[in-house]
Symmetry: C2
Subunit: 217 residues, 2 copies
């Protein structure tokens, strides 16, 4: 009787299952993430996963929590709240944008994991420490997190990609079909396909943070 050493060296674990799920979703898309395929990727039958994980929902929750853990929390940096928030918001956008499944998954689930709460708590703390009253902090939280989630969606949205030949072909086809009917869209598309998402995100964030600052004084 032979022994599979790989399986022995890295035993099945909730953490390892979730990491494999992230890898599978990154490579083949979230719709390809099934318990059977995930088990196969780990060299095990699908039913074995249930010994380490509550079920598929538990895996999806773990994937989302992992995203927030990867973002981390803003560091206190001597009262410069704008740069602290900018760093964390940019990092959040980048982490979400790095996984095509992040925004659809977050928007279809409740956010009650510890990492999401930690990010929220420390961000609020930065604003409170800077002297903002709670109701202005509340407004700020809404508008900042809208910008992060909304921009991550736009960056992930595959409608106007620019990276592959397939993206260019798709854009050409859409413009041929709709270009005459919607001339302003046709004029915008080159900007959408060429734009720097970092600069674009920063443009909006600057407006928002300056606007919040102006509401204090």
């Amino acid at each position: 009787m032979t022994v599979d050493e790989t399986t022995l060296r890295t035993p099945l674990t909730r953490k390892r299952i979730i990491e494999a799920a992230v890898e599978l979703a990154d490579e083949q898309g979230i719709e390809a993430l099934s318990m059977r395929k995930l088990g196969h990727a780990l060299g095990v039958e699908a039913m074995s996963l249930y010994n380490h994980v509550g079920g598929k929902d538990d895996i999806l929750d773990g994937m989302v929590d992992g995203l927030f853990a990867e973002i981390g929390v803003p560091l206190p940096n001597g009262g410069d709240w704008k740069s602290a928030v900018t760093e964390t918001a940019t990092r959040a956008k980048d982490v979400f944008a790095a996984h095509s499944w992040a925004v659809p998954l977050i928007t279809s689930r409740e956010l009650t994991g510890p990492s999401a709460f930690a990010l929220m708590d420390r961000t609020l703390g930065v604003l409170l420490d800077a002297g903002y009253p709670m109701d202005l902090v509340h407004h700020a939280w809404h508008v900042i997190s809208s910008h992060v989630m909304g921009y991550a969606f736009q960056e992930t949205s595959s409608t106007w990609g620019k990276d592959s030949d397939h993206d260019h072909a798709k854009a050409d086809a859409l413009l041929r079909e709709y270009g005459e009917q919607f001339p302003n869209v046709a004029k915008l598309v080159p900007h959408l396909m060429e734009c720097s998402h970092d600069e674009e995100f920063q443009f909006g964030l600057d407006i928002i943070l300056s606007g919040i600052e102006a509401r204090l004084s």
Copy 2:
């Protein structure tokens, strides 16, 4: 042989199938929307739907296009671009927020339907007519649509609802579990549960539109 008059009076049609799908998703959630259940709701076997519709993806595309059709397009109103954009953005937020499935569905699909393109085209037109150059219009499109999508997500997100006893019980449970660990979140939760989403959305939108205006002059 008897004849079902209801079926005769309202024959199966792509439009009617999509309307029934919206109704089913509104009432039972998007995960309850299956071809079999949708057929049942229409008094027909699931396989009959394929005579009028390309498949489930086609139905989902139709549902998304219906959302944008319901939003409509901004009307030219004598150059007051801020109020034109505000009206349409608010309407978009309200339409998305009225359907719990809207944001998850939009964020997981490409937006290439005619109604979405029309909304985009006319909104760009309002900004161009107001004298903004194309690259500033491009920035504006990104930040405004981020705000709309991001806020619709927050309004739809069921984590901090306030409408049902179930929402209150859930909030209480979360605060008991995390309240000590995350005191700033605990302080914010009452604001989240009481806030007026219309005012909150407007607060951010005002900051954004004023910021765009300031970039012109």
